[in-house]
Symmetry: C3
Subunit: 473 residues, 3 copies
Amino acid sequence: MTTVNRYLSEDRYFDPDHSQRKVALELYASLDDLPLVCPHGHVDPRLFADPNFSFGSPTELLIIPDHYIFRMLYSQGIALEDLGVPRADGGPVETDHRKIWQIFAENIHLFRGTPSGIWLRDELHSVFGVQEKLSGRNAQMIYDQIDAKLKSPDFGPRRLYERFNIEVLCTTDTATDTLEHHQAIHSSEWNGSILPTFRPDNVVNIDTINWIDHIAALEETSGVAVTDYGSFIEALENRRAFFLENGAKATDHAALTAYTKRLGNAEAETIFQRALKGTTTGEDAYQFTGHMLMEMARMSTEDGLVMQLHVGAYRNHNAIIFDQFGPDKGADIPIATEFTRSLQPLLFAYGNHPDFTLILFNLDETTYARELAPLAGHYPALKIGPPWWFHDSLNGINRYFDQVIETAGLYNTAGFNDDTRAYPSIPARHDVWRRASANWVAGLTVRGIVDEEDAYSMVRALAYDLAKETYNL
Amino acid sequence: MTTVNRYLSEDRYFDPDHSQRKVALELYASLDDLPLVCPHGHVDPRLFADPNFSFGSPTELLIIPDHYIFRMLYSQGIALEDLGVPRADGGPVETDHRKIWQIFAENIHLFRGTPSGIWLRDELHSVFGVQEKLSGRNAQMIYDQIDAKLKSPDFGPRRLYERFNIEVLCTTDTATDTLEHHQAIHSSEWNGSILPTFRPDNVVNIDTINWIDHIAALEETSGVAVTDYGSFIEALENRRAFFLENGAKATDHAALTAYTKRLGNAEAETIFQRALKGTTTGEDAYQFTGHMLMEMARMSTEDGLVMQLHVGAYRNHNAIIFDQFGPDKGADIPIATEFTRSLQPLLFAYGNHPDFTLILFNLDETTYARELAPLAGHYPALKIGPPWWFHDSLNGINRYFDQVIETAGLYNTAGFNDDTRAYPSIPARHDVWRRASANWVAGLTVRGIVDEEDAYSMVRALAYDLAKETYNL
Amino acid sequence: MTTVNRYLSEDRYFDPDHSQRKVALELYASLDDLPLVCPHGHVDPRLFADPNFSFGSPTELLIIPDHYIFRMLYSQGIALEDLGVPRADGGPVETDHRKIWQIFAENIHLFRGTPSGIWLRDELHSVFGVQEKLSGRNAQMIYDQIDAKLKSPDFGPRRLYERFNIEVLCTTDTATDTLEHHQAIHSSEWNGSILPTFRPDNVVNIDTINWIDHIAALEETSGVAVTDYGSFIEALENRRAFFLENGAKATDHAALTAYTKRLGNAEAETIFQRALKGTTTGEDAYQFTGHMLMEMARMSTEDGLVMQLHVGAYRNHNAIIFDQFGPDKGADIPIATEFTRSLQPLLFAYGNHPDFTLILFNLDETTYARELAPLAGHYPALKIGPPWWFHDSLNGINRYFDQVIETAGLYNTAGFNDDTRAYPSIPARHDVWRRASANWVAGLTVRGIVDEEDAYSMVRALAYDLAKETYNL
């Protein structure tokens, strides 16, 4: 029987070359005491607000909420219903969690060579102490092992926070969130640092489904009656101030493209009035999003919140899955992305501003060397975020380093963030990044591109300093 | 004098690292007994229908019909006439095959580091027993060697089929093909498995040169009078049924872009009538191709033929060469390709269908990680074909693995196909794929990403299982 | 204290694998006696015309004129004024060169892993004899060392030309240049070969700022009154003839896109007249540039000048920096580029011409394997220039080899050019190319793709032969 730790060796993911592997291991070991900095992700703050929060069953923790996992099973013809993924209409889905786990274990080969496979193996071993390689044969035994751990008080989110050695963890919260959970954490006796992030997508993107309801929520939380474009801006500024008071360091924005362009006030008002009347056109939404990115940048230059921009995900590509199961079901597909022309208006206006930081994330790797690195290697405000989503993988990280750093330099990047809602996978994700970083810098060292003194400083920056500094943490 | 086998070593094409090379060699050796599965290619079925088929001279076999070879010579200023490539007007070209061979041999350095160079070297050695490195000096001697072999009965296509250990070989046949050669093979005493593939490009792409003649042939072979869009569809369905009866497992479609969109019946009829009258516009052809891809997918869900789609070759870029020598003269050039938006209508309609398989091939590698892998890692119907054409090379295969598998997983790919009309190069092409596969999986193994048990299973899937399963062979 | 030569080892930049490194070192050593061929760059011919030319201070030589250096410092918030970069309005900037040098040295970590960092380290060591790693602590001492060298007669440009073992160096000169410096060099007793290159961008791109002034200069230097399109062409042909007489081997053209299309004479005339009247539109400029590329190709087929085309730099992206400091301040950003369709008209007209050579340079690496290699692997006239600008780096060169050669073959590339205005960095830049070439070819050798005989020939071609032959030097 294959045990996991047989291949979870100390030098895993490093280059096979002996000299590089040796340096990589030393560099990696130097990061041992550095805590995890998590400046961007989607962990639910309720995990930390409720001191008795429980993750539920292994299946509830690891399969049902994880679209990385169930998209792959679905791609091989396994129905989402059979995996317990809740239907939008509340219709029946599999409720036997052991049965779902069994399906998953019998298909574990699908994850060979994937980041999901790597994270899961590491998580099962390092967090839950599983010693065997998961398979159909031992599925129920391993289910029992994880289940027992999950029922122990040591596996509460707060205890794991300490065990994971997390220094700070930022959540992502809609602009209309009351931040009650953050406030509960803050006023509790617990000392973990859980900070909110201001994400206004569902109010600034006027083609959001049920947009008018989100505007109503904005009115309620801001106390500003949103009757026109001016009061809309006022309400947003009010909410940003509230997030700042509650510890926020950053905002986050998603857009299909990186298009930016300031509208005249009259034009903005006209489009906004159409939105209020429910007569938004596609072009309206496109222009308004491009305009609001300008406005968000302007506000950041004033209130100091770091601006994050995630570009290029075509959401809900599979309309049938969207209708039956809703969003975030593994059917968001990247598109080709353009930055040079699209961001020019924003960078012209704010790119030279000394108090502004814009972090770019995207899913089109062709922009790394061609556009992002040249832009970040010039504009003071611009930083390149770590490889996002599908590219947060061993090869994705290598391509990022190889294509970004020569032109942008290391110090125009933003370090790592795990961007996950799967809390117990956080150590595994940071570990992959740290190993990939150590291996890449070791590659520079053994090829005489940087010396060892620089190498230690670079891996520390990648693992810790850059994230802290870029996000003002 | 350099002998070929000096550098045709057992561990060729593997990573130089000793530990990876060792694992790669073991994995590669495990594939030794697996036959070749050839689900897509362009070998002429006449080779097998005629038990006495002869390949002609070395030049007729290896140079005159191979646009991979003569395009490179042409790019260095050698006239196609001097290489014996037939002119469209039947005008004079070089007929001295020894002279052509000499030109080729004197320019063999042009192929250094190219897949053509690798295949040819391997083919000369493994198939024809050539021991020396080809050069201007030994050109005629090697010509004699190959020529002698070609005259021996051991070098007939049927004998080579057995020697090559081919399990099944699919050809590519126009929708109007009578399949007489396939029928002759089937009714002969020979047991080789040569299957037709339904390729309707010249009837569904209404901008095909002499389209109306192809429609006439469609009428004749189907027995359906094609007078309107409805009878056109009926004729196609008739032909698909005929191909199925004759053993076909798949269809194949070429399009400049991946655009798909269903037309209304009236709209389809209007465009079809313009085509019948010879008044097709460019937009008509674009829309009709996009529509017919939908129809072909629909038919596949009904008759079970696997659908192959090859996208992104700008055909006959060099109009002067096209006028003088016709198509397939090395002047097809790739263009940038988009799938996410283009395929959405087809995937919305059929992408979740349990009985549908769509295999995508394309020439724009930027789509691997950005679009194809995320799509195939979600939609049950979608599989990613192996690297196509210019990318069927050592680096091309490596990039494919590195950019596709992390997101799509191995099991959403379609294994290998050689896609060649150069029959005796088939073993060399599969060997490059198997070596590249073994080396890539060995890289995962020595970096602790997969264990050896998984590794053996993965290389077998790549060499054999995936192709058989995806094409229902 | 770290000394530079500790890590400037003989086998730097080579793969860590022992077997590959050994072969790479042998291949690299074989290039030792080959002089540097510099067919394209931006060194000022005045350096060689004036036998007493002095480079000024270390800061004047290495920082103030080098946008590779100051863009990176600017990206981290250091004002260009503080780096002594002259303002367009002549306003005050830092004049204390030691202070500027100190800022640079204290931020030297920004260049870790960048080509600028590599070149600079090598240049300081190999050209100026600096033994220590530059830092804030030793900045002034190293300044003194360089300064002393720069004051010695051994560091005049002509002496360095010999020490660098340069065989020929081509400059880049506007179409209206009098070539007085080239003539002065030619009529001097010095034997260096400094050749002009004809670059007509500011007269053929009618949207050039102050275009009409450049036309006036064109009239003056050509002696042709430019009153219409016909006389414009005549003036250009006149200037090309003048450049030819003065030793030019090539022309050079920059365009935002690769769009080419011949206008009718009437259309060309109409646009040209609008340009003369100062009423050019954006579309006019786009069409006229596309037309003039056709004309330049036509002239090259007649006068034999090799045509270079640099595509895809969005110039002066940061309008604020452009207003304050002018062009070439590190704010040129690449855009996605298309060649297959764009170049078709030009290649249709001249791509098969036996006496025409077109060398393509671009900043969008996705075109390497997709478009450039297939085009160059077919059209006799086409050659692919070396990796340009941001991609002239260790990873950039590796990607270029891996993505270009398999399809284009080595012999459809144009060797190396340093493309620099930083004269003393020339040996370092060629050395990086030679090392990367040797390492790449060694990789082919140890993987059994080429044998050693071929390998020696290939590295020589890359270092020397291809550049000489492509540019007729």
